[in-house]
Symmetry: C2
DNA sequence: TATTGTTATACTCTATAACTATA
DNA sequence: TATAGTTATAGAGTATAACAATA
């Protein structure tokens, strides 16, 4: 699995004047997690540049599509988004004609969230693109087994 | 920890009115990465509550300790922090008496960063605490082999 | 001309309080 | 009393532009 030698810091004797010693920092799990997450999100943003779609917006569209008619609070809570902040997010999607807020008949306080026809078409394209991104990511990981391994390990950190 | 099996979505036939279908969203690598990273950072913040220390500040202290005398730009760049934003960060550490900015003799534009005596003492305590956090995290992962596996997989995502 | 540290500024994300209308 | 959606606001984190001093 591991090619060979993990490049170790310059031997303690060789005090180079340019390379910094980063082992202590990069040895931390949280640090590596953060760097990886930032990198993956950067790739997402670049990959979805023409879609003008952020990761959070994409997950909201997917979640509404899989759970049409749900309240804002329900969708927001699943994603760990505060309902106050979710207002702005869903408002943006509504302005783009992708999402509808339909006043609930049973509970006049609530809005039932639905994708518009345009929203469904948009999401279908986005999901096809996302599938290619995931595919590429799985390849980088080393295949489906490596992906499953990663997801399992990540779950243990929550 | 986990009661029994991985709770799968309600079988397609049983359309419960409360549980949401989240498989599509949670199947994405980026989504899981983000959730895990947020969780790990939350644990860091809780664990270092009395230290009033954020992950970025901790990594800066570690990096200065391992590379005393380096310029702000060098430390900032390694951590992916813009030098403009690094000014505020290092200023805070200086105000707390942990870091010194010593004007460089060779390059009068630059500040050489050093830990103060108090900074070294503080970092020693923080690192001991961090070691316990890492230990706990490794246990959650399933041991040192699982940790190595995770770091290897994360590296492939960068 | 280029770099270092700095200031100013803006934009995103996130968090809390408080309001309204309903329940 | 509690909840759903909303507004306002404040705090981080991050990004760019521009400047003075120095290289």
């Amino acid at each position: 699995m591991n090619q060979s030698a993990k490049t170790f810091p310059p031997p303690p004797s060789a005090e180079s004047d340019d390379a910094l010693r980063t082992e202590t920092t990069t040895g931390a799990i949280g640090y590596r997690l953060r760097r990886a997450q930032l990198s993956v999100f950067q790739k997402f943003l670049a990959f979805f540049d023409e879609f003008k779609l952020r990761p959070a917006e994409y997950s909201v569209l997917v979640l509404i599509d899989d759970n049409p008619g749900r309240k804002q609070t329900e969708i927001a809570e699943v994603l760990g988004i505060k309902r106050a902040n979710f207002v702005t997010l869903v408002h943006g999607l509504e302005e783009r004609g992708l999402v509808e807020r339909i006043p609930s008949a049973q509970d006049k306080r609530a809005n039932a969230l639905h994708l518009t026809e345009a929203g469904r078409a948009f999401l279908a394209t986005a999901q096809a693109r996302h599938a290619r991104l995931e595919e590429e990511t799985v390849q980088r990981l080393g295949g489906p087994a490596a992906r499953a391994q990663l997801l399992e390990l990540l779950d243990r950190l929550i």
